[in-house]
Symmetry: C2
Subunit: 134 residues, 2 copies
DNA sequence: ACCTATAGATTACACTTGTAATCATCACTG
DNA sequence: CAGTGATGATTACAAGTGTAATCTATAGGT
């Protein structure tokens, strides 16, 4: 229920990608370079202490649970990624676009931030919607 | 360049709706009940001191300018609403959906948060896009 | 069995944010 | 002309955030 901060979200993100996971697993995942061909990718390095702090805060916020596994903990997210991202999306769209998703997409279109794949994905969504809502 | 907080955004929002405006204009606008038929609309009341603080912060952040008009100031936004909302949208979509807008829309669809109007708006966007991208 | 490296807990600390109250100045009112 | 009420400036202050360092207990190596 409490708010998840940006840094906390990134930690959760790492956990969602594979869980349950130990603090070290998560730290490793966070520091994995998201290598693409471009080398201007100087991904921030996460300091181990920082990640531990964030894990603690997430536990306090009941965004994840942990269970003792011999010496260390294994963490598991208590939030579903999809539910969380939807909530955040809706919140932004509510605040900025009166709850309508189309104006957001329109902004992307205007900026030339859509490609054929995006358009196809949207078309497919629409046809699904129409199938279910005759 | 600095970040605009949520509360600051709401103040900016009021200003975008009509500017230049005095602090009092803005406070009035913010406290205008966004009346709909539903009376469970107990819009938060903005305290005059609070709004003044936020205006000052926005000036410091160079999000708006002001000019002395006799005794009081007239404020004018320095950011365009559309540019700002686009930037925020892109940032969220980058963080949560790898930069792809379709998954966000898919979330809305899944939750039944789209209606015929939304679908039509999206279709129209798509056909415009296709017109410009053969 | 002891010492050390380590994992998690606790503490730190500056900056931002939400929310105002207080201070200083000045224009208008009686 | 003096007092008051408004306007903007300054100050306040707790909670949240990003970013760690220090403390404490303990598991594992020698």
């Amino acid at each position: 229920m409490t708010e998840i901060s940006n840094a906390e979200f990134e930690v959760l993100e790492a956990l969602w990608q594979n869980f349950p996971a130990s603090a070290n697993d998560i730290i490793a995942k966070l520091n994995e370079s998201t290598d693409g061909a471009d080398d201007k990718n100087q991904d921030k390095q996460w300091h181990d202490k920082t990640v531990k702090t964030l894990l603690n805060r997430l536990v306090k916020k009941q965004a994840l649970s942990f269970e003792k596994q011999q010496r260390h903990y294994l963490y598991t997210p208590l939030l579903e990624r999809e539910a969380y991202t939807l909530k955040e999306s809706k919140s932004l769209i509510e605040r900025m676009f009166s709850g309508k998703v189309a104006p957001l997409v329109a902004g992307f279109a205007k900026q030339n931030d859509l490609n054929k794949d995006d358009i196809n994905a949207l078309k497919s969504l629409i046809s699904d919607w129409e199938k279910n809502n005759d």
